[in-house]
């Protein structure tokens, strides 16, 4: 049943397919744990720190591969459909975390405790070692020895956070191009319903600057993705790009201001409490450099995080 549920999720949501493929391929599958199962074993502070690389990398992934050049015709209708894949390369340090929380009600951690204390959360993040469990160390304010409780293991040992997005575009009128990233709403059983929608607009002043040595373009994109009640991820980006055509190769680069947030919700097993928190991505801008050869493109985005993307767009 569990396998069936995971299989449905992988099949149904190409947007997060890469991530869940990694999860399914990891040794953790044998432990019958998935992301939600693991989060349900810990409180909010642990979950925030544990999931932080995923939360931080997801937005930059969503905001990647926004363009494959800056040239948009002024009087020739164009259509495109294809797929974009992205992966944020995490810093090695993000496979582990340590977070200290003071003035915690110890009774909320273990019913046999009372009073307040300092909580030290330590261990692998979601992208850390699946064979190593984290620890929760309590230092009671009233004194006594450090008290150690078990945390949760990493989910998948990887420094790459992947994402995939289907995309379609239409443009060519006065330098305008509209782009859509979309996947129909699907019911994933225990995971709830999932949906993915993103849209954006680009405009190129090429028609006005006919003798300008490079093509230019400005644009924005807005995306929302839900995975049941577990994850809601939003991302916004505004960008400016230039490109130069060296037939058959097009070289392009750009700068973007962006923002992203993710809300994570789950039920904490110990208390039965519904936990929901929202975290904003620390990445606010990026530089992009890429190249397109016919319908294939590859690029690199460098901001607080480094993201690699590739796309295959077919059209006319």
């Amino acid at each position: 049943m569990k396998l069936l549920r995971t299989a449905r999720l992988m099949w149904c949501v190409p947007v997060v397919g890469f991530l869940f493929l990694l999860i399914a391929a990891s040794p953790v599958q044998a432990q019958d744990d998935d992301f939600q199962d693991l989060l349900e074993q810990v409180g909010e502070e642990y979950a925030r720190a544990y999931a932080s690389p995923f939360i931080e990398a997801f937005g930059p992934n969503q905001n990647s591969a926004m363009f494959q050049g800056a040239s948009i015709p002024w009087g020739q209708l164009t259509f495109g459909v294809g797929i974009k894949v992205m992966a944020t390369h995490l810093n090695e340090d993000d496979q582990t975390f340590q977070k200290t929380v003071r003035n915690v009600d110890l009774g909320s951690i273990d019913s046999s405790l009372s009073g307040t204390g300092t909580l030290i959360l330590n261990g692998p993040t979601v992208f850390g070692d699946p064979d190593t469990r984290g620890t929760v160390t309590l230092l009671p304010d009233a004194g006594g020895p450090p008290i150690a409780l078990e945390g949760i293991p990493g989910l998948v040992d990887s420094r790459f956070v992947p994402l995939m997005a289907p995309e379609a575009s239409v443009g060519g009128v006065f330098g305008l191009k509209a782009t859509l990233r979309y996947f129909p709403e699907l019911d994933l059983g225990d995971y709830g319903k999932t949906k993915y929608l993103g849209f954006g607009l680009q405009w190129s002043p090429n028609g006005l600057l006919v003798d300008f040595p490079v093509d230019m373009m400005v644009g924005f994109f807005d995306q929302e993705m839900n995975v049941g009640s577990l994850i809601e991820a939003n991302a916004k980006t505004m960008f400016i790009a230039v490109s130069k055509d060296f037939n058959p190769l097009t070289v392009y680069g750009g700068f973007a201001k962006e923002s992203a947030d993710m809300t994570v919700g789950y039920t904490y097993e110990t208390t039965g409490e519904r936990i929901s928190f929202t975290a904003e991505s620390q990445q606010e801008s990026r530089f992009t450099l890429g190249a397109k050869l016919k319908f294939l493109s590859a690029e690199m985005g460098v901001g607080k995080l480094t993201t690699y993307s590739a796309g295959a767009m077919f059209g006319f």
Partner: protein, 228 residues
């Protein structure tokens, strides 16, 4: 031909710039808070826990029954300690010949595995410290005692905190509390010594001054007020 050259130059430029950008590794985005420092009281409790464990572990080098020179002992049903140790018996000291326990004058007890023994304190569900130890002892078959000598010792891990301990001159019997010797415990920049005296009440001292008293029968640690 000219177009091909331009394409090659452009591609080379892209690869070069990508290589430069590639040197820009992602910043770390997960929390990396510093570990709060332990107080002397925290460390006193840790030292007490090691002493309580020693009361249960130490006698195993003299309280033996199997007629084998090396055997694994499982701590089950004990108040504080759980797990397995290996005990190696010899006659003629550490470099002597393997011997059965009743003929040995030397024993070495080593905890097994990376995490060693699990020590539970105060009955808190799920809370446990792991203790590794390597203990060497001279056996006195006449008096049924063993003297644990340096460089015996080990380490204790409690969540993010690790402490080390040295055991010197601790005399254990088949029953009762250790009659002499010291465990020196170091963690978080604090060093405390637990000195055994054959009774249930033993001093825990800092720089030779008794700062705490540990009751080995119930595990209670009480602070000793300095004289006014």
């Amino acid at each position: 031909m000219k177009n091909n050259l331009k394409t090659m130059v452009a591609l080379g430029l892209v690869l070069m710039l990508t290589g430069l950008l590639g040197a820009c590794e992602s910043d770390s985005v997960s929390p990396k808070d510093e570990t709060p420092e332990l107080t002397q009281e925290n460390v006193a409790y840790q030292a007490a826990i090691v002493a309580l464990a020693m009361v249960e572990v130490g006698p195993r080098v003299i309280d033996f029954t199997p007629a084998k020179n090396v055997y694994t002992y499982s701590f089950t049903g004990y108040e504080y300690v759980e797990g397995d140790v290996e005990i190696d018996f010899r006659t003629g000291g550490a470099s002597g010949e393997p011997a059965t326990p009743s003929n040995a004058d030397y024993a070495r007890l080593v905890t097994l595995g990376d995490t060693g023994l699990t020590v539970t304190y105060d009955g808190l569900a799920g809370s446990a410290m792991s203790l590794t130890a390597d203990i060497q002892a001279n056996l006195d078959q006449v008096n049924d005692t063993a003297t644990i000598f340096a460089p015996s010792g080990g380490s204790m891990v409690s969540g993010v905190y690790t402490g080390t301990f040295d055991i010197d001159g601790v005399v254990v019997g088949v029953t009762g509390y250790p009659t002499a010797g010291t465990i020196t415990f170091t963690a978080g920049g604090h060093t405390l010594a637990v000195t055994f005296n054959g009774t249930a009440n033993v001093p825990v001292s800092v720089n030779g001054t008794t700062t705490w008293m540990l009751n080995l029968s119930d595990g209670e640690l009480s602070e000793v007020m300095p004289p006014m």
